[in-house]
Symmetry: C2
Subunit: 431 residues, 2 copies
């Protein structure tokens, strides 16, 4: 409900980059969406209640009693060395062979993204991102005054031919492309996964055009069908900077993520991290280290997978059962999100207040594009609500879409929502 | 020991600001200083072992068992509302009347500094800072390509006449001054405190020249003699942005600090925080909230004060007893640090390796100046070592200075250390 109409007396003092820090227009809606009678398919919150809270509590309590002088003290800026070794073990599940010395622990993967952008991006530099792309990344890129150029994706992920065309065009225009930002596995928001064949092509094209790849992979271990996909980083250690996170595999409230980067880049990232936060929290880091050392974390991830698989199934079944003809959606093989496309003439952003009036919330697609497009799309997530709520939420949503279709057919089209006017910084409720 | 001579293959890709991210030359020394036989007077680590670790462990364990679904989940970007109310109570001890809605919780005060600089400073903008100033702030300013202009301080803190002269000169030069950064109470590194009379003058001058004030106050509650000083923020809510921290009053490993800012600025800071880290850790935040709600935190701060007072006394007694003539030092009334000035012709930076060979470490003064000066100064801290170690460390240091003086008198001056070449990002061991 951040609607302050008073004049900002400090407006002439801000740095130029502050112009890119804009609150999302849908914030006010989210405050309403938090009401218990609303089924929120908007959030990206993991279902942390599935953790054995008594066990975790006892573990952390013992850790502080035993090692409080370390747990409660400043850490090194790069992060705890033993935790970084555990992180390398976790990444090995995706085929990554890495040395703990090339890992920097961060305040969630979001800080990794911020530091990488800080290190590489001058105002006006081009960053390539999928269309759609993670809203939090677009916010970070905007705050560094990057020029985001989107590359389309389809059900098999980022489209290599489109990537090549885009890079070719940017080369002709003499633009400085700093990196490709991609969430290749169980993408946020689209729910699609880059196929193995395309992974090789994407790496090949980026090598040809000498562009770095930022691989953001928070959901990689939450696949429903197969062994984890091989990470892009597993096949190109020099070109790929990898962002990891424990937010979805352990707990988001700990704010522990990491960056794996080529050695020279890693050294710079540590300096950037120091100027940003001095050092990450030992309290969080050593809790994660202890959890990975003493608890059955692989089994816990399996439990999370089963839980999210059931919710994904519930959502897809409900979509099949309730959604009117003309709607299409992705069928995620892991992660948290389904990407829904409305029939021609409908506008997910304009529809959002009407949906909330019908007690269901989603994230309109416009937030996931830097260019103001995305009006026909929305992200609906199945990670947090209980299955019966997911089914009810989709049923309500389908009703809203039905009525929009009737309006369209009666009046010949709904006026689209106002121009998005670029990127908006997300709240944690839209991650 | 970060001496990599291989070429950085990524050097042409970095943003311009990366040039300001330079590792401290004294890092290699610090690695050596961490050996147990070396008495380190270099660190700024609080003595967290003085906390009742069993009690804190039990408190956190219970908190997770009871409220794990909240503790382990994403937070709002602004920070927990109840914690922000507790923070207002803490600030009221320094005369600040504030509303929880104007507080943003940050990853230590360092992140507050980073966000404020991000919001206000364009490359080339002037930031005023005391001479000497906090090394971590200088690192942040450098990473945003600010032009730091120093204003001298003396035993009564920042010199108002010098502040006015500097602002007048910058006005004539048509420079854009974004803010004055100051640690007014128990300053890091100088250990001096801005007097009440000067506080009023500084605020008056900043109002006259329409310059914001960033008041960084991590040590304010750790005074040895009186009630806490009245904060600058207490007397000018519109001009002062206040940075607070629990690193020294509770525990540095939690990484919980805050910014109190005018409302419009606060709103922008939340957006900046979201793009930087999405949200602060609920795990840390709710541990602090629980501690402030259930534990005798005022008594604990008194215990810390007594502990640091004894160490300060030990250090001053040892300096009086051992230091050769010609050395001068400040006499802090609180906080962690003594600022020592060597006799003419001596160079604290050049001397540092010889001191470490004699098993004592300090931070050479050059790190605390953006302009490469400070060679005759050093920071020695009494916060972390046990009193008998402090005494022994000062004794060793005095011996090193004695020998430098003999060299100077024999050879007519010691060659100064290499040019500092600007600001260096600190490690947590030099906060």
């Amino acid at each position: 409900m951040e609607q302050h109409t008073r004049t900002d007396a400090y407006v002439d003092r801000y740095a130029a980059r502050a112009a890119g820090m804009v609150a999302s227009e849908i914030r006010a809606l989210f405050a309403v969406a938090a009401r218990p009678e609303v089924v929120s398919l908007a959030g990206g919150m993991p279902y942390v209640s599935a953790l054995p809270l008594d066990t975790v509590g006892a573990m952390v309590g013992d850790l502080i009693s035993r090692s409080g002088a370390e747990v409660l003290q400043y850490a090194s800026a790069q992060g705890d060395p033993l935790l970084r070794e555990r992180i390398c073990e976790v990444m090995s599940l995706e085929g990554i062979q890495a040395c703990a010395d090339d890992v920097v622990v961060t305040v969630g993967a979001q800080q990794g993204l911020d530091l990488v952008t800080r290190l590489f991006v001058d105002p006006g530099d081009v960053v390539l991102a999928e269309a759609p792309s993670y809203v939090g990344a677009l916010g970070t890129f905007a705050s560094y005054q990057a020029d985001v150029v989107h590359v389309p994706l389809d059900d098999a992920g980022l489209v290599p031919a489109a990537l090549r065309e885009t890079l070719e065009r940017l080369r002709r225009e003499n633009r400085r492309v700093k990196f490709l930002y991609t969430v290749p596995t169980f993408q946020n928001p689209a729910g699609v996964t880059l196929t193995a064949a395309r992974r090789a092509q994407v790496l090949e094209i980026c090598a040809e055009y000498d562009v770095l790849v930022i691989e953001d992979n928070p959901y990689g271990l939450l696949g429903f069908d197969h062994e984890p996909m091989r990470a892009l980083r597993a096949d190109d250690a020099d070109r790929v900077v990898y962002l990891g996170s424990f937010s979805k595999t352990i707990a988001s409230g700990l704010r522990v993520g990491w960056v794996l980067a080529p050695h020279a880049v890693r050294a710079k990232l540590v300096l950037a991290a120091e100027s940003a936060i001095l050092c990450p929290s030992n309290f969080s880091q050593l809790a994660v280290r202890e959890y990975l050392t003493t608890q059955p974390w692989r089994e816990q991830i399996k439990d999370f997978r089963e839980l999210y698989r059931e919710r994904r199934d519930t959502m897809l079944d409900a979509l099949d059962a309730f959604m009117p003809e003309g709607c299409t959606w992705t069928r995620p093989a892991g992660g948290f999100f389904v990407w829904l496309t409305l029939p021609e003439g409908l506008d997910a952003k304009a529809m959002a207040p009407r949906a909330i009036a019908e007690r269901v919330a989603y994230v309109p697609g416009t937030g996931f594009y830097a260019d103001g497009s995305g009006h026909r799309h929305m992200r609906i997530s199945y990670c947090y609500p209980e299955p019966h709520r997911i089914r009810e939420g989709v049923r309500r949503l389908a009703g809203v879409v039905e009525r929009e279709l009737e309006l369209r057919d009666t009046f010949g089209g709904v006026a689209p929502g106002g121009s998005a006017g670029g990127v908006h910084t997300p709240g944690p409720d839209t991650v």
